[in-house]
């Protein structure tokens, strides 16, 4: 076309005008730390595995979990999921049921027989892990992934530690636990059962191992002094749970008192109900709101008919009658005796007052430091003795299975660094994607998927798993409730809302090469910040231009 001068122009020619020069601030894509990830004691990249689960790629999701946690099916059941307490979605409606998805993925992996292959190249280093509980298993698994040879010495007849002895079947079916332990074994981890390490110093002297990870847990029940007419009526919780796990039927009687307010107290009270106790009464010296047991455990126990006596201490027993004293809370929340007494009838009393660590096997180890009944470790999980690392319940930390799993992972990485003479340096933590960073308008309303509950009547009489898993549809739904805090989930908002088309959408190889799905074209970006404002998950940050 013969075009008139100036009046008529070729289309799209404004590309010659680089409006990027107007900019005083530039948008930058960032990965912020999702609060769930931050809260996870096992250091799982929850947002990341949910991302895979959202698209139905369960295997990738599971493999993402497996980078940090070798036992998703177990953890999906027993973890107290601090991630969900931190979940930003909780501020919107209800937190994402992360544990339910994790459990689904773990179960799916067992069902599908997914495996993790250790690297073909071996490091030539050998590590001894003492104790086949969660942190020991976790450490062994991660060490195998890092190419080391691992042997676990377990004192007991079966692997699992507190996962087996401390958690009833109705919360963690044994076949699930065994499947996940078995998977670790199949990676080449040698588990030597019934092999108690009596003296670690001696084992070390043999020089078969280049490093040791101690993970013996805390299995010595704490006692309370209760003058009793019949000491046989007083049992400890772990003992009871262990017997039940082994298929025995401890004689508890019709009316069982449980002394303590932790999760173990709940477990044992609920177990007592299942063992035939008509009444199970939890006696706790403080009030419900300061009780250490998780809310959901208390709630489930109540549903199963477990009764509670708050602000009560047990002073003595005589012929099935327990003398109790009423307590009051002072201004610090501490229980104080009142001098008022009462009695409760009970056929047995189960003490659930916590556990101590059996540290006898460490007596001859040089340099170890023990404080408050636990072994002190540095930030690299190493004890005062070079090459000896420790984790789980035996080191100062919260005593949960998830913390133990996390310890195992961290220790493995530090041991790896130690063995390679390089030390381990964790990457710098990203800024947390707090709720204020999000633009929650974009998220669809979605109430959480409810896990099916075993009806109460059945619960009090059987050890069937109380909480069922999600079916695939529900798991997918639940995964998709994730807000993907601080991490791009390819919603195209930045690409769409830029008035200057200055966001380039990358697909296929371009996206792979870039490691992102979008790129800012700074030739045209005027720095209006619309992309940052409208990013639902807070994955774009405006940074001042340097002039």
């Amino acid at each position: 076309m013969k075009k008139p001068f100036a009046i008529t122009l070729d289309v799209g020619t404004s590309l010659a005008n680089k409006t990027g020069s107007w900019r005083t601030e530039r948008p930058v894509y960032v990965d912020r730390l999702p609060p769930c990830n931050e809260a996870c004691p096992a250091g799982e990249n929850i947002q990341r595995w949910l991302y895979h689960a959202e698209s139905g790629d369960y295997e990738s999701a599971w493999r993402e979990i497996m980078k940090n946690n070798p036992m998703p099916a177990t953890m999906g059941r027993v973890c107290y999921h601090p991630c969900e307490g931190a979940c930003n979605r909780g501020k919107l409606d209800t937190a994402v049921g992360i544990h339910t998805v994790e459990r689904f993925l773990g179960d799916e992996a067992i069902k599908q027989g997914w495996k993790v292959e250790p690297p073909a190249v071996k490091s030539g280093k050998r590590v001894l892990v003492v104790g086949a509980g969660p942190s020991g298993l976790s450490c062994a698994y991660h060490l195998r992934l890092l190419g080391h040879e691992v042997t676990i010495d377990e004192a007991g007849p079966v692997a699992g530690g507190m996962m087996r002895f401390g958690i009833p079947k109705y919360r963690l079916p044994r076949e699930v636990l065994e499947a996940e332990i078995g998977r670790i074994e199949k990676m080449g981890v040698e588990i030597r059962l019934n092999r108690k390490v009596g003296d670690l110093a001696e084992v070390m002297k043999e020089g078969k191992f280049d490093a040791v990870f101690l993970a013996v847990g805390a299995h010595v029940a704490k006692r309370a002094y209760i003058p009793a007419g019949d000491a046989g009526r007083i049992l400890d919780a772990l003992q009871v749970l262990r017997k039940v796990d082994a298929g025995e039927k401890p004689l508890l009687g019709r009316r069982v008192l449980v002394y303590g307010g932790g999760n173990t107290a709940m477990d044992v009270a609920r177990t007592a109900r299942r063992m035939g106790a008509e009444e199970a009464i939890v006696v706790y010296r403080r009030s419900r709101d300061v009780m250490p047991a998780h809310d959901f455990e208390v709630k489930e126990a109540e549903e199963e008919g477990v009764m509670f006596r708050w602000l009560t201490t047990i002073k003595a027993e005589q012929s099935g009658t327990f003398t109790v004293e009423k307590m009051v809370l002072d201004e610090h929340g501490k229980a104080k005796p009142t001098g008022e007494f009462d009695t409760i009838e009970g056929d047995s009393l189960i003490l659930a007052l916590g556990q101590d660590v059996d540290l006898s096997f460490l007596e001859k180890v040089q340099g170890l430091s023990i404080k408050d009944g636990v072994v002190e470790v540095g930030p690299d999980m190493m004890t005062g003795c070079r090459g000896v690392f420790a984790g789980g319940d035996m080191v100062p930390a919260e005593r949960t299975v998830t913390v133990a799993i996390g310890h195992g992972k961290k220790a493995a990485r530090c041991i790896d660094g130690y063995l390679r003479g390089a030390g381990h340096r964790a990457g710098a933590k990203h800024e947390v994607a707090s709720f204020e960073r999000l633009n929650p308008w974009y998220y669809t309303d979605a109430s959480p998927s409810v896990q099916p509950m075993l009806e109460a009547a059945r619960r009090s009489s059987t050890f069937d798993e109380v909480v069922g898993g999600l079916d695939e549809g529900n798991a997918l739904f639940e995964a998709r409730r994730c807000l993907s805090c601080g991490n791009c989930f390819e919603c195209d908002n930045c690409f769409g809302v830029c008035p200057d088309n200055a966001v380039v959408k990358l697909e296929g190889k371009a996206a792979e090469a870039e490691g992102r799905h979008y790129r800012i074209n700074y030739d045209y970006c005027k720095g209006c910040a619309m992309c940052a404002t409208e990013c639902p998950c807070g994955a774009i940050r405006m940074e001042p231009e340097t002039i």
């Binding site: 076309m1 013969k2 075009k3 008139p4 001068f5 100036a6 009046i7 008529t8 122009l9 070729d10 289309v11």
Partner: protein
């Protein structure tokens, strides 16, 4: 075909022969019969492949024509008077975009006071809008000019106004030879637009042009009008060959070769002037006339050639450039710069005031006697004017002038100008 019909009907038929594809119709006296005629031709199926659009204003009429022309359709509209002012912005735009729209102007005055009768104030107001302006002397020429206008405009990518005196031509029944479709088709090729809005070859038309290029754009518009000065006579010559008639061209001369006094005018008044010239020639006066057909572009060189030998030129102008005098005479003075020829402007026929042979003869005599002022007003009732001026001297607020003058005229029993149209008709 030779026929006796109203000018507007003949123009409508002529436009239809040009196969317009989009016609925008909006009524305004005295142009209305043209678009009515076209409406009938479209509605009755005689003019096919044509969108006839009843728009809501003249501004819309021109705007619709702009859109249509920019999409490569041959577009036509007609207007007059207030209508041309109402579309003024779009008129400039059409030429600025180089869209060869053809528009008939049924020339009429502009208010206030509102007046529906003929003069050239309307088209003169838009003389600098970048359009080619052709003025028809008769309905035959009006018919012919429309055919040439489409050809001319499309050749140069410029819009063309064909100016036809309102009522005097538009409403006059007279003998007209309306050509055949075959003749017109042979003369007027298909519209091949210079540029077009088309999804197949998208462009941006109507960009904002800043100081760095605006002068050049404007100059190019001027250059194209200068090209028109060459093309207009060529097209008229070709027209003569094809249709056997002299129509169009830059100007028409009449007994002017040896004339000492030459009368210059636009449009239909040239017929009356020719009759006066004949009468005065019969009396031995060396007088002739020149009708300017193309006022834009202004044929300066041709006029200098046609008028340069005369002692004086009397320009009979149907518009008043208030505050200075005549528009045509001013342009003409530029064309005759450096020559001894005197130029007189005679403002005549404003608002439909009849231009009579008697009055013209009188004024030409005065010119020949060298008693004619540089600017004069034909048949102006000075008595009325002076009375109002006197009133205004005496009172600060003498009331509306037009009404006072009408009162004066009624009181004095004075007819509306000597030989005013049909006496009571104009009152």
């Amino acid at each position: 075909m030779l026929k006796q019909c109203e000018g507007s009907v003949a123009i409508a038929e002529s436009v239809a022969l040009c196969r317009p594809e989009v016609i925008c119709a909006y009524p305004i006296t005295p142009q209305t019969h043209i678009v009515e005629g076209l409406g009938l031709l479209v509605k009755s199926g005689k003019l096919k492949s044509c969108e006839y659009i009843n728009v809501e204003s003249e501004f819309a009429a021109m705007s619709v024509a702009i859109g249509a022309s920019a999409c490569g359709a041959r577009a036509y509209t007609a207007t007059a008077s207030q209508g041309i002012l109402y579309m003024a912005e779009a008129i400039y735009n059409a030429s600025g975009l180089g869209l060869p729209i053809v528009m008939t102007v049924g020339n009429r005055s502009i208010g206030a006071p509102i007046n529906i009768w003929n003069d050239h104030t309307d088209s003169m107001a838009l003389r600098d809008a970048g359009w080619i302006q052709l003025y028809a002397e008769s309905n035959q020429e009006a018919v012919d000019l429309h055919i040439q206008a489409f050809r001319l405009g499309e050749a140069l990518s410029l819009p063309v106004m064909v100016c036809v005196d309102g009522f005097i031509l538009t409403h006059a029944y007279e003998r007209v030879d309306v050509p055949s479709q075959e003749q017109v088709d042979a003369y007027l090729p298909r519209f091949e637009p210079r540029q077009v809005v088309d999804p197949d070859e998208p462009v941006t038309i109507g960009a904002m042009v800043g100081p760095e290029a605006f002068m050049e754009v404007r100059y190019l518009a001027h250059a194209r009008q200068m090209q028109a000065l060459e093309l207009i006579p060529e097209l008229a010559a070709e027209f003569r060959g094809a249709f056997g008639r002299d129509s169009g061209g830059l100007l028409h001369t009449y007994r002017s070769e040896d004339a000492e006094t030459i009368v210059v005018a636009l449009g239909s008044v040239n017929g009356t002037i020719k009759d006066v010239v004949d009468e005065m020639r019969a009396e031995g006066v060396k007088i002739g006339s020149v009708a300017i057909c193309s006022f834009r572009p202004f044929p300066s060189a041709a006029l200098a050639g046609a008028l340069g030998h005369a002692a004086r030129v009397v320009v009979v102008e149907k518009s008043l450039s208030v505050g200075i005098g005549g528009n045509v005479s001013h342009n003409l003075k530029m064309a005759l710069a450096g020559r001894a020829t005197r130029v007189h402007a005679v403002i005549a026929g404003l608002g439909g005031r009849a231009i009579t042979m008697a009055s013209l003869k009188k004024v030409f005599r005065r010119a020949i006697e060298d008693r004619l002022e540089a600017v004069s007003f034909l048949d102006l009732n000075m008595e009325v004017v002076n009375r109002q001026l006197e009133r205004e001297r005496l009172e600060r607020r003498p009331g509306p002038a037009a009404e006072a003058i009408l009162r004066d005229l009624a009181g004095a029993g004075v007819g509306v100008g000597a030989g005013a149209n049909g006496k009571g008709g104009a009152r």
